[in-house]
């Protein structure tokens, strides 16, 4: 570790000012990726802006069929939230399965999606649910937000303030954990919505989370585990590493999709 300037602003305006005044600022939302990387000296920001003290950042509220989750809500808070549970229990269940208790009590939804780790769970959930990411400047559809591995549509200095999720008809998440890290080696979130089926895959794609057209079409026509059987899932564009080849990941996408649909009912 090395010397770093720490800020804990009470408002978005102060946060933006702190970012603007720093040589190289990083936003600290939960620190579950940022702090280990800083300890290993793989990241070395001059200033860290802790946004957890900003008013409203940890609030979770329901309006109509939509739940608004503050960006600094921890995974444990989302997992245990009656509001999230009432709108989308599958998202609460996803949050309950992230990392371990220590991670769930520090890591936040905003931090997770801003980092957009290719093996993180939330990107799959928010993409499949067609969530809206709210920042200090604008609202971004999930389809536009996740742009590639560790990259998002966020601009420099832009701060996620909340995530809006509308209730799906049915939804579930099935995750095959990497045996070592227990991150998703393949995670598939399925959602049945008014516009049809949405299927998002994490842990597998070379460019991070992605939607799978074939699975969406099949499930849009016939929402059942059997519908998955006929879908060809290509290994093209999938990651290969010491834990899983692209072929194995492609196979697991089908297995996890079937299990998710079965769980969604």
């Amino acid at each position: 570790m090395y010397a770093v300037n720490y800020h804990k602003p009470a408002s978005i305006e102060d946060a933006v000012a702190a970012i603007g005044g720093a040589d190289e600022a990083k936003i600290l939302a939960g620190g579950q990726t940022l702090l280990p990387t800083m300890k290993q000296h793989l990241a070395a920001p001059s200033d860290v802006i802790d946004i957890r003290g900003i008013g409203g950042m940890t609030d979770i509220a329901v309006r109509g069929d939509t739940v608004t989750i503050g960006a600094a809500a921890t995974h444990a808070a989302v997992a245990g939230s009656n509001e999230v549970g009432s709108v989308c229990p599958a998202l609460a269940a996803l949050a309950a399965g992230i990392g371990d208790p220590a991670v769930r009590h520090m890591g936040t939804i905003g931090g997770s999606i801003a980092n957009n780790d290719p093996a993180a769970d939330y990107p799959a959930g928010l993409l499949a649910l067609g969530a809206t990411i709210v920042t200090n400047n604008r609202e971004i559809a999930a389809d536009e937000f996740f742009t590639g591995m560790f990259t998002t549509a966020l601009e420099d200095g832009e701060i996620i303030t909340a995530i809006n999720v509308s209730a799906p008809g049915k939804a579930a998440y099935a995750k095959f954990r990497n045996p070592a890290s227990r991150y998703a080696m393949v995670g598939v979130f399925v959602a049945k919505t008014g516009d049809g089926a949405r299927v998002a895959v994490t842990g597998a794609g070379e460019d991070g989370v992605f939607r799978h057209d074939g699975l969406e079409q099949a499930l849009g026509t016939n929402w059942s585990p059997d519908a998955v059987d006929a879908v060809a899932v290509s290994a093209d564009g999938l990651m290969s590493d010491i834990h899983a080849s692209a072929d194995y990941r492609a196979h697991l996408i089908k297995v996890m999709a079937k299990r998710a649909v079965a769980a969604a009912g």
Binding site: H41, F176, P179, A180, S181, H243, Y248, L252, V255
Partner: protein, 786 residues
């Protein structure tokens, strides 16, 4: 006696461990303490063209930067290999020189090239990043089989073809003849995967140099502080033994990895003298993956022949063992005398031959780790037996029964003389406890849930209680492998036991006290175990090879024999009786058949007041002993594993694991149970989860827990444990040792169970979901699950 031998006494040491009040090396802070950080090679193989520490030295708070050539100039010696092996052509082994810090060339990722000493740990690490090393990269090789190929990169000028030795054991012509006449031959290609030890406490050292007395103290994470002092003194020339004190305080696990005296500890001692500061270094987990001695890493071809009745008629094994960039302390013994000598297993085989080629590669040194050679041998034997039974259409238990050794002592064709055991009894106990009879029904029930259920055996034998000195000396060991003890009876009758064994999780403070309590009938609370400090304890050899019970505790017994003799003399004199009539029971020293007696503490007091001792007797009551056993000990057992495989994903669940062990006399069954749990879990880790991966260029891929998969509690079942005891005839207590057995016996049971479940024998460790799924794809789904 509720606290004596055989009692499940709770561990005395756990109060401090569980409440976080253990005192580990990194918990210790010296006055005037500075911090060391190492500059390490990012390359697997490179020439060092220059080191520029200007920027680091310019940082405020940086005290010094030192490099390998400076150690060499000061006469610090190269790191030694403790066991000399000869090739089958009679030539001595070739090992490359290992400088504590690289002088000209680095040969594995993580090899230290410089130490930075600074006022804080954070600063030392930042400054280490600022040291510029100019490397010229060289081609590298990580796999041992590739390192033997023509044209492979060469690591050391004095090691042609990277071949350290080509060793053999047994009679090749006899094994060939046996195989030639076989009715059936089973052949296997076996990889024994490379492991990282992962003790929970990383290595740590604090070196304290006192210039007034020209004296050094080293606090360090060692399993054998006396051996560390001997080697640091005699070979590394840090200081003569009487001016070097080594203290190994509480140590959080070792599994073999803390036997060795590593570059960092040597460098810290020298740097303390150089800077006049106490120098502390504590490894982080990333450094541990790169520098702690790794384990296993064998590639083997094995052929076993059987006659028409299933009797083994010949065994031939060819192994390539990866030793890493340098040959560490026991690295050459592990794949030879701790491996080839166990290739008779539990079986009566006349013809066994084994050839081992040991190879340098651009990887961290490989050395002994829980089991050390014996897990590799057991994996070869028990995979062969299970495979042969399937090929011959026999029950795997029956095939083993037909070949079991039943009479002892038994001389194997590969040196060992097994002294005791009852392999039939172990197999029966294991089968009963595992309800093997009910397996078919369980398999059918699993199939109804879409799961593939399989069962696998492993009948292991191992040689531990590593000793005796004369035998290991004749096989090339550089040291004797006895153990020492001193029994100090205080004037008030309490007892201090000074032992050369070292506890780093084993519970010696409890079990050793139980042995003393049992002997004299004293409460355990009156007995203290002292270990881990060369200033307090007489020379000892330390803890590894499951030797603390078989060798260490028996040294205490031998010292207690002497104490008992003197106590009887004093009591006989005081009570005016014959020595032969004196008995020691329940803390009292009595004249048998009378009411005449002395309390234990009265004898102690009499010894020290010395007012009324027999003529010519020296005052005091303190005796020492050095114990050197006459043979290894031979724990054995039957392990039976049942798995369920999810054919859709390849995920393996171990649904039942039964261990029936023969450890000889058991001192504390609860602690023995814990050792089996830990050992079996490590074995399951090897079989299912753990694997060190280097890429072709020698970069370490599994450098953190993101990629190196350690077993977690939910990866293993609740174990079913059984015992069937034959007492070890070679030592007074009759103990055999239990520390390594679980890790030795379990891997083949797991792989045998999975291959049974999926109907494909082509499966290597670790059997990850991907590999199991691929193996299922290779042969198609077994009928039962379709």
């Amino acid at each position: 006696m509720s606290e004596g031998i055989g009692a499940a006494v709770k561990r005395k040491e756990d109060k401090r461990f569980i409440t976080g009040r253990g005192k580990y090396t990194d918990d210790i802070r010296m006055e005037n303490q500075a911090y060391g950080a190492f500059v390490r090679s990012p390359h697997a193989h490179a020439e060092i063209r220059g080191i520029d520490a200007t920027a680091a030295l310019a940082m405020e708070g940086v005290i010094a930067v030192h490099t390998g050539p400076e150690l060499k100039e000061d006469g610090i010696g190269d790191i030694i290999t403790g066991w000399a092996i000869h090739s089958k052509d009679g030539n001595p082994m070739n090992v490359g020189a290992w400088n504590p810090m690289a002088t000209a060339r680095v040969r594995h990722v993580g090899e230290p090239v410089a130490i930075v000493i600074a006022e804080s740990q954070a600063l030392a690490r930042l400054a280490a990043e600022a040291v510029e090393v100019d490397y010229e990269e060289l081609p590298a090789v990580a796999a041992a089989t590739r390192a033997l190929e023509d044209g492979a990169p060469l690591l050391h000028d004095n090691v042609p073809g990277n071949l350290i030795f080509d060793w053999e054991i047994g009679d090749e012509a006899a094994a060939d003849a046996g195989l030639a006449g076989a009715a059936h031959i089973t052949e296997l290609d076996i990889v024994n995967n490379r492991l990282a030890p992962n003790a929970i406490e990383p290595r740590s050292a604090i070196a304290v140099y006192n210039d007034i007395d020209d004296h050094y103290t080293l606090y360090t994470t060692s399993q054998n502080p006396h051996v560390a002092r001997l080697v640091l003194s005699a070979f590394y020339n840090v200081a003569p033994e009487h001016k070097l004190r080594v203290i190994a305080p509480d140590v959080g696990g070792g599994f073999g990895s803390k036997i060795y005296i590593y570059p960092e500890e040597i460098t810290c001692l020298w740097a303390s003298m150089k800077t006049g500061r106490s120098v502390k270094w504590t490894s982080d987990r990333s450094e541990a993956f790169m520098t702690d001695a790794h384990a296993r890493d064998h590639v083997t071809k094995a052929r076993m022949g059987f006659d028409a009745d299933g009797k083994i008629v010949g065994l031939k094994v060819n192994t390539v063992a990866n030793i890493g960039a340098y040959a560490s302390l026991f690295a050459t013994a592990t794949p030879t005398y701790l491996y080839g000598t166990l290739l008779s297993g539990q079986y009566d085989i006349t013809n066994v031959y084994c050839d081992v080629k040991a190879v340098h590669t651009n990887t961290v040194p490989v050395d002994a780790y829980r089991g050390a050679g014996r897990p590799e041998a057991t994996f070869v034997m028990e995979r062969l037996m299970e495979t042969a039974a399937r090929e011959m259409g026999m029950d795997p238990a029956e095939l083993r029964r037909r070949n079991f050794i039943t009479e002892f002592p038994h001389q194997t064709p590969v040196i060992m003389t097994y002294d005791s055991g009852d392999f039939h009894a172990l197999l029966e106990k294991g089968q009963a406890a595992a309800d093997v009879a009910g397996f078919a029904a369980r398999k059918a029930e699993a199939a109804s849930r879409g799961k593939l259920r399989g069962i696998g055996y492993s009948c292991y034998i191992e040689a531990c209680g590593i000793a005796p000195s004369k035998a290991v000396g004749s096989l090339g060991a550089g040291v004797g492998l006895w153990e020492s003890a001193e029994v100090r009876v205080n004037p008030v009758g309490t007892i201090e036991i000074l032992t050369g064994s070292h506890a780093h999780g084993q519970g010696h403070e409890t079990t050793f006290a139980q042995v003393v309590s049992d002997r004299f009938g004293l409460p355990m609370d009156n007995i203290t175990i002292v270990h881990g400090d060369t200033d307090k304890v007489q020379m000892g050899m330390g803890t590894y090879g499951s030797r603390s019970g078989a060798v260490g505790m028996n040294a205490i017994v031998k010292a207690m024999d002497k104490v008992e003799a003197k106590v009887k003399k004093i009591a006989a004199h005081t009570l005016e009786a014959s020595e032969d009539d004196i008995v020691i029971e329940d803390g009292e020293v009595k004249v048998a058949g009378t009411d005449k007696k002395m309390a234990w503490h009265e004898v102690g007091l009499a010894a020290y007041t010395a007012h009324n001792l027999p003529d010519g007797m020296e005052p005091g009551l303190k005796e020492g002993a050095f114990y050197d056993p006459t043979n290894f000990t031979f724990p054995s057992g039957t392990y039976i594993c049942e798995v369920e495989v999810d054919p859709e994903t390849g995920v393996v669940e171990i649904v039942q694991f039964t261990a029936a062990d023969d450890f000889g006399t058991v001192i504390n069954p609860m602690i023995v149970e814990g050792q089996v749990h830990g050992g079996v879990t490590q074995g399951i880790g090897q079989a299912l989860l753990e694997n060190v991966v280097y890429d072709e260029d020698g970069q370490l891929i599994t450098g953190s827990y993101m990629d190196y998969c350690m077993p977690r509690a939910d990866d293993v079942p609740s174990y079913v444990l059984e015992h069937s005891t034959t007492v070890a005839p070679s030592n007074p207590l009759g103990v055999k040792g239990c520390g390594e057995a679980g890790a030795i016996g379990s891997p083949p049971a797991v792989i045998n169970a999975i291959t049974d479940a999926i109907g494909n024998n082509n499966l290597t460790m670790p059997a990850t979901p991907q590999k199991v799924w691929a193996a299922i794809q290779e042969v198609g789904l077994p009928q039962a699950a379709e």
